[in-house]
Amino acid sequence: MLRVDIRKRLATIDLDMRFELAGDVLVLFGASGSGKSMTLKMIAGIEQPDSGVIQANDLLLFDRTAGIGLPPQTRRIGYVPQNYTLFPHLTAHANIAMPLRKGRGWPSARADARAREMLALVGLETRGAARPHELSGGQQQRVALARALAIEPEVLLLDEPFAALDAPIRAELRAEFRDIQHAMRIPTIFVTHDLEEAVAISHQMAVVVEGSVRQIGPARSILDHPADVRVAELVQSRNLIPGHIARTGEGADAVVRTALGDLPLLASPLADGTAVIAVIRPEAIQIAREDWQENDLLLTGTGVLTASVDHGTRVVVVINVSGLSLEASLSPTEARQLSVVPTSCFRIAVARTDIHVIPLTPLSNPPTDRTD
């Protein structure tokens, strides 16, 4: 268990981080410069918070009021930064074994055995004699991970460890990391600004905005129910439609009255007239030809396709409905069947359960005008 409750004043933002890591993988997800890396450095003991507490299990790593601040050497926290983290003058084997000998005081034989064991864990048992520049980027990060795990850390911190790698290697390492993490059950904080990576790797995801955690929970629930407009933007909800709550009749379900028309909601505790943003993820929008038969989905209207971009695994189309541009994401098969070409007309449909509402109370950050 790791408890983080720290504050630090930085040049551009005021960091105010509060979260708990119970086990498994917590992903800190946010834009560059939002304070994620600084948070890891403070947990590792490389940087000092201005105030607050960091606690790992029963051990206080940092407590400003009690005057506690353990040095990195005694924290037993594995730290893997983004880039160039291997000692370039040492072999892969020595990168792991040397710190065990000089840092932990292990005898050479024990350190060497451990280094071989860790290299085998990441599938590099034959590359122990290679120097970092002789290894590929993926292999280097594997050694960096093995080196961090070799000290049997209480917590593992990974700062965008795969960001510099090519996409296929990244996916491979991600899967490998999940297996290793699962086998060793080391609580891990994983920093990334890549949404796909955040969702794929996290058990819990914390969305960091300007130095503080705006929302924390399972990735899927954050994607489906972003807490505010900023989070919705960060998790690429794409379709943020301004409107207000209205009830159509006695005991009837609420709707969001928007430029698209009335979007019915399953239930809403919000009062009539509350200004809201209706959020619909691109994947949730279904589109069909105009002659398509209505089913149990909610039909919201007919629109004109204005753009279509093939991303390989998904085709993203933009459909203009009542002056609003909605982004929808289709599988290539769907796109082919519908023959999505600009200026053709389509019906769009969204399931009631896929409409999420964010109230625009004066307390939350008012969103900038956006109609796209």
Binding site: T85, M98, P99, G103, A148
Partner: protein, 294 residues
């Protein structure tokens, strides 16, 4: 390089002679190169011929052996290597922390301090000599204090030779070491700390090995500068055989008193040493630039 690229950019005509395109650059390509060579010749000759002349005159004289047995030459050789050795130790011992401070810690006036430390590199050595006299001389700022309290008289001693050398040579080491330390990614030191390495272990096992080419290169340059030191030494330490007369001073003295062979031998030794130092420095600099980045 020049001719082949020129041939590639003007393929017409050259391609007719199959297989010989690269060996037959056109007139247009060759003549600017010829002009460059001719205009460079004067300076190249001016820089190399005098050095060669030392050996041309020294070798046939047949008195090299006698000159080497000359007590003046032997004393100067011994004193030069002793004092420059001491200088090197002092410069490395005191310069390394300064270089580390300048490379790793941001503080107000760091750039100003860095510039101040580099000043002796461009300062005329005679000025350095006057400055040292004004600091440690009998009428200097600290001279009377050292003399009255400890009975130490620095000017015109072997220690003064070392001080003069250290004054002019230290910046060469500090500057190079600073660049070397700055080139080591601090993140490597951070990672080492999380792995349990103490600051001392990290410095010894990570930072110094990675900065080593720059440290050695700086040390070599500092030593070479100390070995050639003349102006500050003669001002602050004087020119006493066996006590303060290093090789450059001995060359001056032997030339003045007409002992040409002694001057030639000493000069020849210094040329060879300087050349070796330069080669060593280039090799280290190349190693530093190419050894890590790949």
């Amino acid at each position: 390089m020049h001719s082949s690229s020129a041939a590639e950019t003007r393929p017409t005509g050259a391609q007719v002679e199959d297989g010989r395109v690269r060996r037959q650059p056109g007139r247009m390509a060759r003549s600017p190169r010829l002009i460059l060579w001719l205009s460079s010749f004067v300076l190249i000759a001016f820089l190399t011929i005098p050095l060669a002349a030392i050996f041309i005159r020294a070798l046939p004289s047949g008195e090299i052996g006698d000159a080497l047995r000359d007590p003046v030459v032997r004393e100067a050789l011994t004193l030069s290597f002793l004092t420059t050795g001491a200088t090197l130790i002092i410069v490395i011992a005191l310069g390394t922390p300064v270089a580390w401070l300048l490379a790793r810690y941001g503080f107000r006036g760091r750039d100003a301090l860095s510039t101040l430390i580099e000043l002796p590199m461009v300062l005329p050595p005679a000025v350095a000599g006057v400055a040292l006299l004004m600091a440690f001389g009998r009428r200097g700022v600290f001279g009377p204090f050292l003399s009255d309290t400890f009975g130490i008289e620095l000017p015109f001693t072997t220690v003064a030779v070392v001080l003069a050398q250290a004054f002019v040579a230290a910046p060469f080491y500090v500057k190079s070491a600073q660049a070397g330390f700055a080139s080591v990614d601090p993140e490597l030191e951070h990672v080492a700390a999380t792995l349990g390495l103490s600051r001392v272990s990290t410095f010894a096992s990570i930072t110094v090995p990675l900065a080593l080419p720059a440290l050695l290169g700086g040390a070599v340059m500092a030593w070479a500068r100390a070995l050639g030191e003349f102006g500050a030494t003669i001002m602050f330490a004087g020119n006493f055989i066996g006590r303060t007369q290093t090789m450059p001073l001995a060359i001056y003295q032997t030339m003045e008193s007409g002992q040409l062979n002694a001057a030639l031998v000493l000069s020849g030794i210094l040329v060879i040493v300087s050349f070796t130092v330069l080669i060593a420095f280039k090799w280290l600099a190349g190693y530093a630039a190419g050894g890590r980045v790949r």
